[in-house]
Symmetry: C2
Subunit: 208 residues, 2 copies
DNA sequence: CAGTTAATGAAACACTTGTTTCGATAAGAT
DNA sequence: ATCTTATCGAAACAAGTGTTTCATTAACTG
């Protein structure tokens, strides 16, 4: 009965509402950097953003809701795939882009927060899934181009190649908790490329 | 002043103390399965374990402390590496072992909980780091054996090969939130092996 | 088999987090 | 410019979380 049919802020998204959202997301990132997702509290974010805590609870509901919205915001800002003219350069560009994001003070903690939120919160998990699937699809094109140029075997699965580039970096970041260095990124590119050239990413029987 | 020089339970670890710990860790896992790390509360764990909440706070301090202890417990139970006589069989055994752990109802949620805890809690992060480094070292031996048998190039970095096997599984589990299937595991083995055979895991100048 | 005291747990407490209410403000419509 | 009402926010409230106190229990010691 009392629940609005749409969430607050969707009917009048202009002026004030937009300012409040920007201030809250900004405050959320600041809090993530200083305290981490663990200690991200609605009250603190509200105070820092200079808005009422009622508003933060109403529009985002929980800390997971905050970081999920942050992730959706990042999704809109992400850039298209590189095109260096060769598959090695393209894949390296992808690896370095991920590397820089993970090591960036603000972006790094944000990704880690959403990953943490995703382990227990369905909306956060969906946001992660959607975000990475779009990023993977975007960069998978560089593999198709490489196949067209004859650099890689026909039938090479582009999305899988892109996943293979990122996987070792995220694995170290959140699982083994080892540093994610430039060297790690370079090795990931070299190994993925070696496997791809050997035809290990060719999808057999993909067409029935 | 009031802080004991060692944490509670380390001076008289017999009988009662051990029973309390077992009951609490059991209850923690049950709660993780039913509600997830997000909703893991000290009160609820204490009630379920049939112990006073004072005890849970005193010995573990926080939900992160609980799952960290759970991880240390798992570390003691982990088994040695396979020895099938061939590198492909050994790596497949490793991949399947990880696959089964991640898809196991109890183990899966536990790993995810510790990963989530690790993003913001230093002790949890250290437990993760220590656990996986030991597991990686243990399984790296199968690569050394393979090199000795002439299956892989001399100088192949065993630890890196093992990391490469696991990385895609964890990447899907916690980052892209895609299903972690048998097929994913098999492909990880095939691709890692292809790269390894091509010499992409040979550490150049490691002794320089 | 006592004696000592580490460890536990019930209860009272302080603090934090989340919800509800309702008047104030300003976005968008006419 | 004026009206309507979505959105906001201060305050009071309810619920949950974490701490302290202290009596009880039971490991370990000799």
């Amino acid at each position: 009965m009392d629940q609005p049919s749409r969430s607050a802020g969707t009917v009048r998204p202009g002026g004030r509402t937009a300012r409040v959202r920007a201030a809250v997301l900004e405050a959320t990132q600041d809090e993530l950097v200083e305290r981490g997702f663990h200690e991200l509290t609605m009250d603190q974010v509200a105070a820092r953003a200079g808005v009422g805590k009622t508003t933060v609870y109403r529009r985002w509901g929980s800390p997971s809701g905050l970081v999920t919205d942050l992730m959706n915001e990042l999704a809109d800002q992400s850039s298209p795939h590189a095109d260096t003219g060769g598959i090695e350069g393209d894949l390296r560009a992808n690896a370095v882009s991920v590397l820089n994001a993970l090591n960036d003070e603000r972006l790094g903690v944000t990704f880690q927060a959403v990953i943490a939120a995703g382990t227990g919160d369905e909306p956060a998990a969906r946001a992660l899934h959607a975000f990475y699937l779009r990023r993977i699809q975007e960069w998978a094109n560089v593999v198709d181009l490489a196949v067209a140029r004859g650099e890689l075997p026909a039938g090479t699965d582009g999305a899988e190649v892109i996943r293979a580039i990122s996987a070792p970096l995220y694995y170290r970041l959140v699982v083994t908790r080892e540093p994610v260095t430039r060297e790690v990124a370079e090795r990931s590119v070299a190994r993925t490329l070696a496997a791809a050239r050997a035809g290990a990413f060719v999808t057999t029987g993909s067409r029935g």
